[in-house]
């Protein structure tokens, strides 16, 4: 499939409008507060658009479709768990309420008030390490989508993705969070449109009844044949599917994501007030069901279309089956809308992530080491330079890192490098008066052991000896909690004045 002129026009108009809007917001940036948290002027609907656009990247579409292809609809259960976690946190204000009230710019900044500067710095390091490693595969996985949907030669993948990142860098470096919010809003609209049209097109192509019948018939025949059975395509609790262990780990993991993942929390911190932040979470909760389910549907349809792998085109696997299928299915004009939508997904995620990690590096790694505070202008220049440096890292890491296994598991485990430990620190800082700096340091180190061991062992071991992602993930949480409890109880209690809930 090659793109028709109408597709190119749709893509070019979308990119031009985004770039213009992003650059326009530059005029409002007066300091780091505007650059990092949009002067805390964000209201609820822009917040929903920004949160949803940032958390639904092209990489998300790819890994959720891969989950659909590998595990059927049952694989998209993760989206249901995430939606429940978002709603629960938005309803109760668990962690996000007191965090917004504390008036901080990043999660590690909160730790200084309770555990001291050393813990803040180390937490910042873990946040950046986990976050940037996690983001490292975005470009390549996103590029795979474009290559397989459009039929463009794979030789151009690096150039296309570098060009796209360059565009994102331009408006993010100049306009910071203000540009990110406005471009996220536009990207949310085009993404929503593209996802709805494509999903309806896919259902019309495969037919819901035929799809479910084919999936169940294939599962039943594979179960009867014995050997490695196909996962149950609808029941996530079935032993051949995700299973209870994985689902329980995901419940804990998704609560940690909602309360700790810095790109999500930066929207909480940019919100006008605590009530706006909670409302934003509640109202965007159901969006996360579709975030997994709709691309998951595309993956499931690709599985049936390619006759359960038997008719896969050469050079295509479970990750690239969905874009190859959509490339064959969608007509001119619609494919242009889909590609514009997916570029929107990639750009909104990249801009949000670049800004977030740059803010943490500046705020929690560099600033605490400086003897004298930088001038407002120097602060802005430093943060902008960090955005560019992370962008350069992404281009090089994304080019040489070869992903083995399931994309979602890689993302979940690299994210876990900091999620388990920082989540433990947050909960303890806000709700356990006995927690102290020793416990915090122990939790940080022990929480990172599980995911790092997973990354190292699984990069070297053959498939039979690899560690299961739920084992690595759950052990990270268990070790972090153990470190916090034991570390705090065996050392002196903190002074009663240390409270993170008061603003500086």
């Amino acid at each position: 499939m090659t793109l028709a002129p109408i597709d190119w026009i749709i893509i070019a108009v979308y990119l031009a409008v985004c770039l213009f809007a992003g650059l326009w917001m530059r005029r409002f940036v007066r300091g780091v507060e505007d650059f990092a948290v949009a002067g805390r002027e964000m209201d609820v609907n822009v917040g929903i658009a920004s949160l949803a656009a940032t958390e639904l990247g092209l990489v998300t579409v790819m890994y959720t479709a891969q989950l659909g292809y590998d595990k059927g609809f049952a694989g998209t259960m993760i989206g249901v768990i995430m939606a429940l976690a978002m709603y629960g946190v938005g309803r109760t204000g668990f962690v996000i309420g007191p965090m917004r009230a504390a008036g901080v710019m990043t999660v590690p900044e909160l730790f200084q008030k309770r555990f001291g500067a050393r813990v803040r710095w180390l937490a910042g390091l873990f946040v950046v390490l986990g976050g940037v490693l996690n983001m490292g595969i975005f470009l390549r996985v996103g590029g795979e989508f474009l290559v397989h949907t459009t039929g463009i030669s794979a030789n151009y993948l690096e150039w296309i993705m570098t060009g796209l990142l360059g565009l994102v860098l331009l408006y993010t470096v100049l306009g910071g969070m203000l540009s990110v919010l406005v471009t996220d809003y536009l990207q949310f609209l085009i993404m929503g449109l593209g996802i709805v049209i494509t999903s309806i097109w896919v259902i019309a192509d495969v037919g819901w009844t035929a799809l479910t019948k084919d999936l169940l018939a294939h599962w039943e025949s594979s179960a009867k044949a014995g050997g490695a059975a196909m996962p149950h395509p609808f029941n996530p609790f079935h032993p051949t599917s995700l299973g209870w262990g994985y689902i329980l780990w995901q419940m804990l993991f998704q609560v940690a994501v909602c309360t700790t993942w810095q790109t999500q929390i930066s929207r909480v911190l940019a919100a006008k007030d605590e009530a706006t932040a909670k409302r934003m979470y509640r109202r965007s909760a159901f969006y996360f069901v579709g975030r997994f389910l709709l691309p998951g549907l595309w993956g499931v349809a690709a599985l049936v279309h390619f006759k359960f792998g038997a008719a896969l085109p050469p050079g295509t696997d479970s990750l690239t089956a969905m874009p190859a299928y959509l490339g064959q299915l969608l007509p001119a004009g619609i494919i242009g809308i889909l590609i514009a939508a997916m570029l929107a997904a990639e750009m909104s995620t990249d801009s949000g992530y670049l800004l977030t990690w740059a803010t943490v590096i500046y705020n929690d790694l560099l600033m605490p080491c400086l003897k004298r505070p930088l001038s407002p202008r120097a602060r802005l220049v430093t943060t902008r330079s960090l955005v560019v440096l992370i962008g350069l890292f992404l281009v090089f890491y994304g080019l040489w890192y070869e992903l083995k296994g399931n994309t979602w598991d890689y993302l979940a485990v690299t994210g876990n490098i900091y999620l388990a430990s920082v989540f433990t620190l947050l909960v303890a800082a806000l709700y356990w008066p006995r927690a102290n700096a020793t416990g915090a340091l122990a939790a940080l180190v022990l929480g990172a052991v599980g995911p790092l061991t997973f990354l190292i062992v699984n990069a070297r071991a053959d498939k039979a000896h690899q560690i299961a992602p739920e084992v690595a993930g759950a052990s990270a949480f268990a070790l972090a909690f153990l470190g916090m409890i034991v570390g705090s109880l065996v050392t002196a209690a903190p002074k009663p004045s240390a409270s993170p809930k008061s603003s500086p």
Partner: protein, 61 residues
């Protein structure tokens, strides 16, 4: 039993799928309208703040 459970899950996924498509479609229009208004208001508010800061700087100098 397995048969019933399978079809129960099929029904659940179908409901979630239809609701998701409808919700995404609704949000495009709802957020498109409300979010657009909020962005304009945010820009006006930032403009007012920047003008006030500029005037304060002028008065000081």
């Amino acid at each position: 039993m397995n048969f019933i459970a399978s079809y129960l899950f099929v029904a659940v996924w179908m409901i979630l799928l239809v609701t998701s498509i409808a919700w995404y479609g609704f949000l495009v229009f709802y957020i498109g309208f409300k979010g657009g208004k909020e962005i304009l208001e945010m820009m006006r508010s930032l403009d007012r703040r920047n003008q006030a800061a500029g005037e304060e700087e002028k008065t000081r100098s």
